[in-house]
């Protein structure tokens, strides 16, 4: 049974590979350094991550991910790129010190992450195979999520709406023509 690989497992590997590949291409694309290319690969990353959410039975969040990130945030990014009229970024020399320091710190953080993930999972509390988790209902958890949002998490929900209002006012103030 442990060697049996079902369709969800295969799909996990496919979408995980796609997510990581596109994420890497956002950061370091060997063919182009234009921000538009990075933005397009970020859209691909976000969409394949929404597929991973579906595999995790978080259907509502997958929809929100596509609508908010791929729909709204990335349109904003592309719009700003267009507005700034960035010229093709001339190849500035990447400083060796920055490169070495960056790779070193990223490698250190990655080592800590991987070590702690595999260290913590020896206690067998987080190696639950999928079978022991309660099977989700057909319509997903959207109803339960909404109930939780309006009962237990009412205050954070209201605070978030105030945050959005503050952000809106801030953006309008910042984009006035005669910014002091």
């Amino acid at each position: 049974m442990s060697n049996y690989m079902g369709l969800p497992d295969i799909l996990f590997y496919v979408f995980a590979a796609l997510t990581l590949l596109c994420g890497l291409l956002v950061v370091a694309n060997p063919f182009s350094r234009s921000p538009v290319t990075s933005a397009m690969f970020l859209v691909l990353t976000i969409i394949s991550m929404a597929c991973l959410f579906v595999l995790l039975h978080a259907f509502f969040l997958a929809a929100v991910q596509i609508i908010v990130y791929a729909g709204a945030v990335m349109v904003l990014f592309v719009f700003v790129i267009m507005l700034l009229n960035l010229k093709e970024e001339e190849r500035r020399r990447i400083k060796t010190f920055g490169l070495v320091a960056g790779l070193l710190s990223v490698g250190a953080i990655l080592t800590i992450f991987i070590k702690s993930i595999f260290g913590a999972c020896d206690s067998s509390c987080c190696t639950l195979p999928l079978g022991t988790v309660a099977a989700p209902t057909v319509e997903g958890d959207t109803h339960a999520l909404g109930m939780l949002l309006y009962t237990q998490y009412t205050l954070p929900f209201e605070v978030i709406s105030i945050l959005l209002l503050v952000a809106m006012i801030g953006v309008i103030t910042l984009s006035k023509k005669d910014l002091k």
Partner: protein
């Protein structure tokens, strides 16, 4: 091999490291901002995985609620940050961090 919590966490960790590498290495403000989004997304993936693999007896939806809030905050943060970048570009005509050193000692 059956896919478990560890697989998702490893993907999330690698994605976070990729985003961090982008923030450190790239010098374009917009691309740095996109790498930041990548890091936020990797945290979301870890949270959703935790909520899926939470032990029996809990429905484990708290993680998904948290992800919902994170997405909202990220949207607000992106709008403010991009407005700042546009305002900066109007004054300096550059979106390159090495041109923005007037606060350096």
């Amino acid at each position: 091999m059956q896919v478990g919590l560890q697989h998702y966490l490893v993907v999330s960790a690698i994605l976070f490291a990729t985003g961090l590498l982008g923030v450190i290495m790239r010098r374009n403000l917009l691309v740095m901002y996109m790498s930041l989004e990548l890091m936020l997304n990797s945290a979301n993936l870890a949270l959703v995985a935790f909520s899926r693999f939470s032990p029996d007896g809990q429905n484990g939806l708290d993680g998904q609620v948290l992800v919902f809030f994170i997405i909202t905050v990220a949207a607000a943060e992106v709008s403010v940050g991009l407005a700042l970048i546009v305002a900066l570009f109007r004054r300096r005509q550059s979106a390159h961090v090495e041109d923005l050193t007037s606060m350096k000692l």
